[in-house]
Subunit: 334 residues, 2 copies
Amino acid sequence: MQDKHISLAHGNGGRYMRELIADVFARHLANPDLDIGLDAVPLSLAEGEVMFTTDGFTVQPLEFPGGNIGSLAVHGTTNDLAVAGAEPLYLSLNAFIEEGMEIETLDRIVASLAETANEVGVRVVAGDTKVLRRGEGGGLYLATTGVGVRQSDSQLGFDGIIDGDRILVSGPVGDHGIAVLLAREQFGLRGDVFSDAASVLPFTRAALAHDGLRFMRDPTRGGLATVCHEISQHTGLGIRMQQPDVPVRDAVQSVCEMLGYDPFYLACEGRVVAVISDAQADALLADWRRLPQGDEAAIIGTVHAQTDKVLLVTELGGERILDELEDDPLPRIC
Amino acid sequence: MQDKHISLAHGNGGRYMRELIADVFARHLANPDLDIGLDAVPLSLAEGEVMFTTDGFTVQPLEFPGGNIGSLAVHGTTNDLAVAGAEPLYLSLNAFIEEGMEIETLDRIVASLAETANEVGVRVVAGDTKVLRRGEGGGLYLATTGVGVRQSDSQLGFDGIIDGDRILVSGPVGDHGIAVLLAREQFGLRGDVFSDAASVLPFTRAALAHDGLRFMRDPTRGGLATVCHEISQHTGLGIRMQQPDVPVRDAVQSVCEMLGYDPFYLACEGRVVAVISDAQADALLADWRRLPQGDEAAIIGTVHAQTDKVLLVTELGGERILDELEDDPLPRIC
């Protein structure tokens, strides 16, 4: 490739596309199951329930402190499998690349995606690229679909959640949202906030060892508040969260106060929210705190049958309703 | 939803997104395996090899004679499974929707996608939506990942192709490319050309019944010529195609001549190219011609060891090299 930018010819099915796929995608993503000459690829699957999930990624900027759209795509999709109780195994990757994108940037992002996949233990085995006309593409969008295997004795879901269950979060909330926000530079602020984007597998594996575990979810778009609303809507039960118990980094809190955001609605990309029986909550908390990145895990609230609202109990003991998210606080955050 | 257009709030993870997913996506795509409350969904898979493929779709305009981006996404992805010898079972769906898109149009496209999935016999079981800022999204992009099952006795691939094998195509080439081109109206031309977008499963099932079948592929981006180049590059063998034997509709030929396109490089979305032993080629042709939409199937060429080029034998007996595609004749065709 002589030109260092993506052209429409990189998307046409011909020689330039073949070279781009070989030089950028296949080179970084090489693994024994990836064969770019195939229309469809066979998967080897261990015993258990085959689990399936998908996610699109449009984060802007494409690279931010703590990650980029490539590492985010792997974490986002494998984390969805993890919170469903599965071990992630395979990914498909769709790239929508805007004409004019620097191939060097694309290469760096694909390299990071490949490295992340390697760390998490998944293989990218199917892919497609499309090139979008200049001005039509926002740089790069990715879509990843994940396949994993779950041991079929895990019975996670909203159905098992009962009055008195406890809610845990594996670490501080809002880091990803604020890191991306600051990376956009439009506020002239610079912080030391890094995205929390990471695999949640160590946390989900630890949680699955407790038979009182009811439900897990990663609080991405819409944040912790949205997960609480989903739990409440599906179960008909209320949630009482203790505001002082929810871990939020000082830097995140400061930026939120300055700009009028609520960290409870901001995306995390490496946290888990778990609902577990009251009896086992302390044991799970202890397990999580022993994990790297787990020292700020916390029990943050309780499921209540007396209400169907998501309530926040403030430091002074007051209660306020945490509404369902309506306006978008931060577009293109994931 | 009061406003009839997509807003950024439809992508934020909150109430508007939940309503959009429920009202548009889940309503049309409803099936027993689709649960929009889950992070990942279990798949029930029949005995056989689990097959996996993915595709992105950026066609412009979103609706064209014979299809739309929704039906195209289902056909494109399930056809990739079909030509790999598999029965398609499940799809994931990613939608990147541009702010300002009419919800009515989106609804019509998702309804068509659902109807097509139903006809083909696949279930959409995982999905994600992202909303792109106005001007950044080109209306709508889709990405679909397919899972199917293949009976493991099928040994399709480039490896089995040998000197003397015959090449078949299941119908006329270039219809999809020209139908989309004309739908753009930028040439002021109107034709009676409809996209060939359709499931190729009847053709692939018929072909799999012949043990001399070596290889199948659907000639999408880059068209028939690109499939021939892939065969040649992977096998080191040449191909001699008989130009008069390749079915091209008159209307497609006329538009191509007028605008300087070559139908051999234009995308089809409902055709199969198959390589089969010389001994079984006529039998497969007879099977294909008995199928609906199969009456123009043809044996179009032969694999040759004497050359490593893709050659086109013209009506008058002259030979010309069919080069690998370089410039993009038609961006956003699929």
